[in-house]
């Protein structure tokens, strides 16, 4: 017994020092983990604690509600206590890491002992638990939930094993306490499933093995039942909030969207979950895609080593005596279950894994199964690895092959050290390609101290510039990852797009306005967002993330915009304040009200011209309350898409029918069921791409219609059209979320587009029969509208197109039937001189010339449109070639390696490039590119011989590589392999990168070396034109608009979820605006907390608006009602915990007394 204790003490010491060593080398000096998609969660824990105890996260842009907010409370509570004890964020993070490493490895050690493994086996197991490829991925990923899971899993299992072994119900109480302390884990709901999977499998295996023992069976069933009840009861403090807020989170999506989200993500992750990857517990993404540690893991030695633990684990299954051991049975069953779930849609029978995701939408958090469930592999892998080693040694001993001990020892050391070398060498967060451990510069805390009280007094928010497209940003102090302002600054910060589309649309609008330096509209845009302060981050590295250049922002601010004043600098942070007279505050009553059609997510809002006063507002949705209609001053509809018409590929009808699909049995054959069976079986087994497969099947359905019709079986053909229509609608639904990705993938785009073009061709040219016409027209309509919505083709074929003119097609979604005036806005002089003509509205040819031409506006006659989809086709001349002046200059002074010559026969001029021994380039500089427009590049080229030319577009803001060379935004080798020699025209579509102000177009020629075929290229007719850069806007004025009243509003922020409002001078009716993200749970209550029912809607694209048509009390409150769930949840959970604890202790004591 004495020896046992001594050994245990030694193990504890070893684990203690290993944990300490690892923490110190992982986080040297005062560095903390920061960056990636996790931000800096351990910075300023007190601030984070305040945030997570609130159901409304005000710091993220205009606010957001998170369903699993509260799970982080114990974590941040612990951190803030450590902070109060005088520890900085570096030290607190070290303590957390140490606790996880030491606690988890010790748990595995005792788990091994509880499973009757000997001490050395248990020691190897706990070392392998720290040093394995799965743990390496978890640590390197840097997400605290997963790190804490590494502790919660073995610790909770140890308690469970101990409790069941010793028949102690009190172990349930300990599990509940541990679950509370580590509740941060449940912030990722997938881990919750994993944890319960672990506990359930253990209890199930024990139950299975002791089913014949009635007492044991009764104990286990009671234990499991009590575990479930008491765990749920004790965790109600966060579960209540989750359940209540989930109604609203899920409510944002349709059922179909949720279904496709779940299993489609699972399918998309297929390559990362292949059995060859998960069997080794490694991360394909980090080791073989991102290659954080270079090529070393692709070396055969490392590949071989990565399989060794798996081989040893599998080896334990070959030893018959293991089958009698309950711990082994548990570990191997757990391994298999976890692997079967982690493989996702990979074979065998991967398609089965899709079913639960398609049936149960609440499984969505589990869709990256390998990340969420795969973490459990660390338990059976470490214990089975150690057991396997032990059994191999036993065999060596039994067979007297002691000389093999040394090689085995070498293999063990290689697995524990060499295979996971980044853990030992401190290359986890900082290595050549990674920099996720940083020291935070002190100027952030200085700036926050200065601004904090002012923000609180103003109840306003900060705009951080440059804003991030998406969510990531790079700073020059080695930070790279999610924009971290919400960690540095108290109050609310707008710094990145938060993933809530209406808010992101407003942020995108500001990004575009800042880029354009449109001072007047920037001022208007800031008002309804309640922005009171602007912080310019001059430490931003703008090039790689395509952000606005801080120097440009500074240059704009140097022009002294009238609405903003400079205050101070902290390091590279420059702080500006929006003047009081340019702010509408957090709460205000609306002035003039306009309606703006659903904003196009890829362009600016285009609404600011209608907004004149600070409190003027706009609606972007149709409100249920018709009462608002009479107050709307103007209804403006912006096109949902704009395309320059070019006919889709021309194909022969018979070729289209032949190529579209192969058809076996027709629907009127009794054997057609076999076809359907084969299709579903193939979809199940083959797992071809779901979207492409769906469109292929729709082609097959259409061909069946054609064959039936040609066989004059019209009645059957009519039914087959319905079948085709249903199949096509299913494809629209299946591809709803992902089709845009497919259309950006050349091969998938070709497959889908060619299928759609064939179907369109067949529908338009094959069917003349009267009896089928109606059904065919209906489905044709669906197909064409689908193509139009994708921006691929107009819904209605142009009735005419004049030579030398271009046709621009605008699509609209009309929200209300009415008479609309049609206007082209902000047009230039050239267009004013030659105004375009409207030649078609939907499928009717018209001839609308401009009715009125203003300074920068062209008006057309009013048109009447019903609610729904509409299309207007506009005929206009070619846009001006931007290169005209540059081209003439270049003729006189061509770049080195080029000459300008004239064809003696035609007299046409061209550039001739013939590099002899160095690369030569023909360069055209394009000033003032517009990031909201699409350009069309066109040139004629003759590749006489040698190396193919390269076409490159670069921008003033492009990043450079490590050699200082520009990484061009567009680079294309021009492929001549399929063309006969001679002149050919090349047309390319080009969109400038989002932070560019100028571009450079380069034709680059390389000399041919080694062959007697010198490079020679001729170029002529080089042009770059904007694709019709104007919007054709529909407007409906309301001549009988009723004026809205106002109220004087003063607000006091009690906390982020509750505001007290004082109302005076209420002139009914008026709209009360609250500039936080719209959420149905923001409600108005009287001073005693009773809800006041008022029409509640989204206004200004994102905010809360209430229509007040009856006088309210002078003092009211605006509350986020979800906050009540926290209080209720805490009370219930505490009561439940106390009672369940007493009951569990009583059960144990009762046993003792007996």
């Amino acid at each position: 017994m004495h020896i046992l204790k001594k050994f245990d003490t030694k193990v504890i010491f070893v684990l203690f020092f290993i944990s300490l060593f690892l923490v110190l080398i992982w986080l040297p000096n005062n560095k903390i983990i920061a960056g990636g998609d996790i931000g800096i969660p351990t910075y300023a824990p007190q601030k984070q604690l305040e945030e997570v105890t609130s159901s409304w996260w005000e710091s993220h842009a205009t606010g957001i509600s998170s369903p699993v907010t509260y799970t982080a409370v114990p974590f941040y509570l612990t951190l803030s206590i450590l902070e109060k004890l005088g520890m900085d964020s570096g030290m607190t993070q070290k303590i957390i890491f140490f606790t996880i490493l030491f606690g988890s490895s010790l748990s595995i050690y005792y788990l091994g002992l509880n499973f009757s493994f000997n001490k050395w086996t248990s020691l190897i197991a706990c070392l392998f638990y720290i040093f394995n490829l799965t743990s390496l991925s978890v640590w390197q990923r840097g997400v605290h939930n997963a790190m804490l899971m590494l502790l919660l899993v073995p610790l909770s299992l140890l308690i469970l094993v101990w409790g069941i072994k010793n028949k102690k119900y009190v172990s349930i109480l300990i599990i509940n306490v541990v679950s509370f302390l580590l509740a941060y884990v449940f912030g990722a709901l997938g881990f919750l499933f994993s944890l319960w999977l672990l506990w359930t499998v253990y209890i199930a295996v024990i139950l299975f093995d002791s089913w014949s023992d009635k007492l044991a069976r009764r104990f286990l069933l009671t234990y499991f039942f009590l575990l479930i009840i008491s765990w749920i009861g004790s965790n109600l403090w966060w579960i209540t909030n989750l359940l209540q807020s989930s109604n609203y989170t899920l409510g944002q999506f349709t059922q179909g969207e949720l279904m496709s989200r779940g299993s489609d993500v699972l399918a998309a992750l297929k390559p990362y979950h292949e059995p060859s990857i998960i069997l080794r517990g490694l991360s394909r993404f980090y080791l073989y895609v991102v290659r954080d540690w270079g090529e070393i893991y692709s070396h055969p030695l490392f590949i071989m080593l990565s399989w060794v633990p798996t081989l040893i684990i599998f080896y334990t299954a070959l030893i018959r005596t293991n089958y009698k051991l309950t711990p082994w049975r548990f570990l191997i069953v757990l391994t298999v279950l976890v692997l079967a779930l982690s493989k996702g849609v990979n074979p065998p029978l991967g398609e089965l894994n899709r079913i639960p995701f398609d049936l149960f939408q609440f499984l969505a958090p589990l869709r990256n199964t390998y990340e969420k469930v795969g973490i459990l592999l660390t338990i059976p892998f470490s214990l089975l690895f150690a057991l396997g080693i032990n059994q191999i040694i036993s065999i060596f001993k039994a067979k007297k092959m002691d000389y093999l001990h040394l090689p085995l020892l070498v293999v063990i050391v290689m697995c524990l050290i060499v295979l996971v070398w980044p853990l030992w060498l401190g290359k986890l967060f900082v290595s050549e390609g990674r920099k996720y451990a940083v020291s935070i510069p002190s100027y952030y805390s200085q700036a926050n101290s200065w601004i904090k009280s002012k923000i609180e007094a103003d109840d306003t928010r900060i705009l951080h510039l440059p804003l991030s497209w998406g969510e990531s940003i790079d700073y020059n102090w080695n930070y790279t990852g999610v924009e971290p302002s919400q960690y540095f600054f108290n109050g609310s910060s707008i710094g990145y797009q938060i993933g809530v589309p209406p808010v992101d649309s407003r942020i995108r609008d500001i990004l575009l306005l800042i880029h354009k330096q449109d001072t007047l509209n920037i001022q208007k845009a800031l008002v309804s967002l309640n922005i009171g302060w602007v912080v310019v981050h001059n430490e931003t590295l703008f090039r790689d993330r395509i952000l606005e250049n801080p120097e440009r922002i500074d240059a704009w601010l140097a022009t002294k915009p009238p609405f903003i004043e400079y205050k101070t600098d902290f390091g590279p942070l420059s702080i500006w304040r929006v003047k009081d007279e340019y702010r509408a505050r957090h709460f205000y009553s609306s002035g003039k009200l306009v309606r703006r059609g659903i904003p196009n997510p890829t362009s600016s809002l285009n609404v600011w011209n209608e907004i004149n006063n600070l409190n003027d507002s706009f609606l972007t949705e149709i409100q249920k309350e018709q009462s608002l209609d009479k107050f709307i001053f103007k209804n403006t509809i912006i096109p949902t898409s704009k395309i320059k018409y070019s006919p889709l590929g021309l194909i022969d009808k018979e070729t289209a029918i032949n190529d579209i699909a192969k058809v076996g049995f027709l629907p009127d054959s009794p054997l057609f069921v076999l076809t359907l069976f084969k299709e579903s079986l193939f979809s199940f087994l083959n797992q071809n791409d779901r979207v492409i497969n769906c469109f292929d099947l729709s082609g097959k359905r259409l061909k069946e219609v054609v064959l039936l019709k040609r066989g004059r079986r019209l009645e059957e053909a009519d039914k087959a059209i319905k079948r085709y229509e249903n199949q096509f609608k299913e494809c629209i639904s299946v591809g709803k979320d992902t089709l845009s990705i497919y259309l950006n993938t050349p091969q998938a785009r070709d497959l889908i587009l060619s299928q759609l073009i064939r179907q369109k061709n067949i529908l338009e040219n094959e069917f003349d029969e009267q009896s089928l016409k109606e059904a065919v027209n209906q489905v044709k309509d669906i197909l064409n509208e689908y193509l139009a919505k994708l921006g691929l083709a107009p819904k209605y074929n142009p009735v005419k197109q004049n030579l030398g003119k271009q046709l621009i097609v605008f699509d609209y979604l009309i929200n209300k039937k009415g008479d609309y005036s049609v206007e082209l806005k902000e047009v230039d002089e050239q267009l004013i001189k030659n105004p375009p003509q409207i030649i078609q509205i939907d499928n009717k040819a018209v001839d609308f010339s401009a009715a009125e031409v203003g300074v920068n506006i062209i008006r057309y006659p009013q048109i009447r449109l019903d609610e729904g989809f509409h299309e207007i086709q506009l005929e206009t001349g070619e846009e001006k070639n931007i290169l005209t002046d540059l081209y003439d200059n270049k003729k006189l002074h061509p770049d080195p390696g080029f000459t300008y010559q004239k064809d003696p026969e035609s007299g046409e001029g061209y550039f001739r490039g013939a590099p002899s021994n160095a690369i030569v380039s023909l360069i055209f500089d394009i000033p003032n590119v517009s990031i909201e427009d699409i350009y069309e590049v066109s040139f004629d080229i003759y590749h006489v011989g040698g190396t193919a030319p390269m076409f490159i577009m670069t921008h003033d803001t492009d990043p450079t590589d490590s050699h200082g060379l520009i990484k061009p935004a567009v680079s294309r080798n021009i492929d001549f392999s399929t063309y006969p020699s001679g002149w050919r025209n090349v047309k390319l579509s080009y969109t400038p990168v989002l932070n560019a102000t100028s571009a450079r177009m380069i034709f680059m020629l390389s000399p041919q070396t080694g062959l007697n075929n010198p490079t020679e290229v001729l170029l002529k007719n080089i042009s770059i034109r904007k694709v019709f850069p104007y919007q054709l806007v529909l407007e409906e004025d309301n001549p009988s608009v009723m004026p809205l009243g106002t109220a004087e509003i003063k607000s006091v922020k009690l906390n982020p979820t509750e505001y007290e409002i004082n109302l005076t001078n209420q002139k009914l009716p008026y709209i009360l605006i609250f500039s936080e993200t719209f959420h149905p749970l923001w409600q108005i209550t009287d001073s005693s907390g009773n809800k006041i029912d008022l029409p509640h809607f989204s206004i200004n694209g994102f905010a809360n608006g209430w229509f007040v048509d009856k006088e309210l009390a002078d003092r009211i409150k605006v509350k986020f009602m979800l906050q009540n769930a926290l209080t209720q949840g805490i009370i219930i959970a505490v009561i439940f915990f106390i009672f369940s604890s007493i009951f569990l202790i009583y059960l144990d004591q009762r046993g003792k007394i007996k």
Partner: protein, 102 residues
């Protein structure tokens, strides 16, 4: 039994590679799913607690190691998937037909 089940694995694999050589490529998932389903059915035909699946799983895992080191990606995909499949079958077999030894 182990011989029959080895043939159930080997023969379709041979057919798969012969077809592949004739440019009649089948999706490897067909092969894996087919073998898995046949072996699953055979569990209930043989109803034996023999641990043959584990031997086959281990052998296939060794082949996967070989394929992995030599960069035979298609073979790695097939062998590792089958190895996992056989481990699953082995566990089902253990739970259903090896109770008496527990």
């Amino acid at each position: 039994m182990i011989l029959i089940e080895s043939l159930v694995i080997l023969l379709p694999m041979i057919v798969f590679y012969i077809l592949g050589a004739q440019n009649k490529n089948l999706h490897p998932e067909f092969l894996i799913n087919f073998i898995f389903i046949v072996l699953f059915i055979s569990l209930f035909i043989f109803r034996s607690g023999n641990i043959r699946h584990m031997y086959l799983a281990f052998a296939l895992l060794l082949l996967a190691v070989f394929a992995s080191v030599f960069g035979l990606n298609n073979f790695l995909y097939i062998s590792s998937s089958l190895s996992l499949g056989l481990l699953i079958l082995g566990i089902i077999n253990m739970l259903l037909f090896k109770k008496e030894e527990a």
